[in-house]
């Protein structure tokens, strides 16, 4: 198998995830459980014998959703809702709503009232850095387990959960290996391909995914490292649904080598302990990994993490990509930006709607960031 074939597979699934899921459902007869946020404990869904997949929100024009959520609301949530209301997600058996931010909480309410499907709310704690919230979080995950058992009329054994944790740990390790390989040798795969791999990972059958990831790692490990003088960029934010952004950057002698996105490293960061109580272990991964700004952990957590990423991956500029009107990210931004200025680290913040096309204004801003580093 060639690298191109492997990348073509991931790209195909990333560009039409719903088509893949429909085929998977026909083939396996598995229940399909959609997820609206990376705080969904996919291990529990897997242990229930169902297939977890991230609803990406493929809609490019919004109308049905805008009857429920104002145009100055989160476009990621509005795109998911549009797909739900338009019937594009009719293959879904249920949807999980982790209460991470206000928009997803309201999405849960609107969904419950308007779209028939099984409905799972996960009431996340607001703070993540106390023992009390840790205990609560573990109980919430256990509650989710009994909710899904009841809804799908199944029972989940400890062994089922251990196996699911082991599988997801292997997938996270493989994705981490790919990122590390590419950070050391960015010419291996284009940034847009790497983003497609992570997106496809949130869609694919997990057993098949692990096989495909490991095949790609074997192929890439054989390639010799090339000298690469391109500027090394970190993307920071929630989602980057625009493959064109990676190309705009690569057209300017720069390359994205790492990210802290929900649609990127946040999906695979952190492993779950396979020896501890599984509910505590799953909750610990969520609190130890790079936390979403919608959740609180000690104030300097975001800053420390950003500094660690900059040092580990020899980052030369930071591109913040925020979904317009996403307040948690905007509130953290001023402190992080001030810290980057102290470090003389070039940075740029752009806000965009998930469903909008890349326009000339955005290209101009990204070009300018990279030109500032040249002139």
């Amino acid at each position: 198998m060639k690298i191109e074939n492997s990348l073509a597979l991931f790209n195909k699934i990333a560009s039409d995830p719903y088509d893949y899921i429909k085929t998977l459902k026909e083939k396996t007869n598995k229940k399909i459980i959609g997820s609206t946020c990376t705080y969904t404990p996919e291990e529990i869904v897997l242990a229930a014998g169902a297939h977890p997949f991230r609803i990406s929100g493929q809609a490019q024009n919004l109308s049905a959703a805008d009857a429920h959520i104002q145009a100055y609301g989160c476009s990621m949530v509005r795109c998911m809702l549009e797909d739900g209301l338009s019937g594009d997600l009719n293959f879904l058996d249920g949807v999980v709503f982790p209460h991470s931010c206000d928009s997803i909480q309201r999405l849960s309410d609107i969904w419950r009232l308007n779209i028939p499907s099984l409905h799972f709310d996960i009431l996340l704690p607001v703070k993540l850095d106390s023992q009390l919230s840790q205990n609560y979080f573990a109980k919430v995950i256990k509650r989710f387990k009994s909710d899904i058992e009841e809804a799908l009329d199944t029972s989940i054994s400890d062994k089922d959960i251990s196996e699911a944790i082991h599988l997801m740990n292997q997938i996270r390790t493989a994705l981490g290996q790919l990122y590390t390989l590419r950070a050391a040798n960015p010419a291996l795969i284009k940034g847009a391909d790497m983003a497609a791999i992570v997106k496809a990972s949130m869609v694919m059958d997990k057993e098949e995914l692990l096989v495909e990831l490991n095949k790609l790692i074997t192929l890439l490990s054989k390639i010799e490292k090339k000298n690469d003088a391109r500027k090394r960029i970190l993307i920071s934010g929630s989602i980057c649904s625009h493959p064109d952004i990676y190309q705009i950057i690569e057209n300017k002698d720069a390359v994205v080598v790492w990210d802290d996105l929900c649609s990127g490293s946040r999906y695979f960061e952190g492993l779950i302990s396979e020896t501890e109580n599984p509910y505590i272990a799953i909750s610990e991964r969520f609190t130890n990994r790079f936390v979403c700004p919608a959740k609180h952990i000690r104030a300097d957590f975001q800053l420390d993490n950003m500094k660690r990423l900059i040092a580990d991956h020899r980052i030369e500029a930071v591109l913040f990509i925020f979904v317009k009107f996403c307040e948690p990210f905007s509130f953290d931004y001023p402190d992080i930006k001030n810290e980057l200025e102290k470090m003389n680290m070039p940075y740029l913040m752009v806000e965009m709607d998930q469903h909008n096309r890349i326009d000339e204004q955005l290209r101009t801003r990204i070009d300018t960031l990279l030109e500032i580093m040249q002139f």
């Binding site: 317009k324 806000e351 204004q361 101009t364 500032i372």
Partner: protein, 255 residues
């Protein structure tokens, strides 16, 4: 050596011919629908105006939104970098540039050498852009070139609270209906755009001295409003509209 800088903006295309570090000729045309055609036309008219031949131009740098459509340019550079270079040439001390163009506005910070170190750009809507002024001038039945002067005649500026261009226009219709005078409403409009720019300047962090470039720099009312809000003198140059093209021509020298 002669170099050419060509700036294809959203409304106008500007060209500057530079010879031995001074401006040989400049030219401005409307862009219209096709930015590539505008570039060709600008080049032809500029050559004629300067009475030189195309072969005498050593290098060409294109900038502005249409920069990538100019196939005769040797290089395309973003207008933010070019405005920085151009304004540094015209007003060498400048550390903060406010550039209000047809469809966007930018605040650019330069270091002491005149190199761009940071910038912000409006990104959510057309509030705080030249287009806002265009729409408002039309609502006030005033030619855009007299709009700034009219605002200076106000003693009691009207309050315009809407940020949105369309809503601000309907707010103005209400003020007109209430019988507020034209000068006061016009002054309110200029203060409104000033406040949008003020927040951008604060976000990126103002370093004095401050200068203005882009077409709106020709509007004395906006300059006056910004001076009041930012509490600093705003320098400008009669060539401010050519800042981007000039910067591109300067960059072409060193390429």
């Amino acid at each position: 050596m002669i170099t050419l800088g060509i700036d294809i903006g959203s409304l106008t295309a500007k060209g500057v011919l530079l010879k031995d570090n001074s401006i040989l000729e400049k030219h401005l045309i409307q862009v219209g629908y096709n930015s590539k055609k505008a570039g060709d036309k600008l080049l032809a008219e500029l050559l004629e105006k300067a009475s030189i031949d195309r072969t005498e131009i050593a290098r060409i740098v294109a900038t502005g939104y249409g920069r990538n459509s100019i196939d005769f340019a040797d290089k395309a550079v973003s207008e933010i970098i070019c405005h920085g270079k151009g304004i540094h040439f015209l007003l060498p001390d400048t550390r903060t540039i406010i550039d209000i163009g047809g469809q966007d506005s930018k605040v650019i910070i330069l270091n002491a050498k005149g190199t761009v170190v940071n910038f912000v750009m409006n990104d959510k809507c057309a509030a705080g852009t030249g287009r806002f002024l265009d729409v408002m001038a039309r609502a006030m039945e005033t030619e855009i070139q007299y709009f700034g002067e009219l605002s200076l005649q106000s003693k009691n500026p009207a309050e315009i609270s809407s940020v949105c261009t369309v809503f601000a226009e309907s707010e103005i219709v209400s003020l007109v209906a209430k019988g507020e005078n034209r000068e006061d409403i016009t002054s309110g409009i200029h203060l409104s755009i000033g406040r949008r720019i003020y927040s951008m300047v604060r976000r990126v962090g103002m370093v004095e001295p401050v200068a203005m470039s882009g077409g709106v720099a020709l509007n004395i009312g906006v300059i006056d409003a910004l001076e009041k809000l930012l509490k600093t003198e705003i320098k400008t140059s009669p060539l401010a509209q050519y800042g981007g093209a000039l910067g591109a021509a300067l960059l072409a020298v060193n390429e």
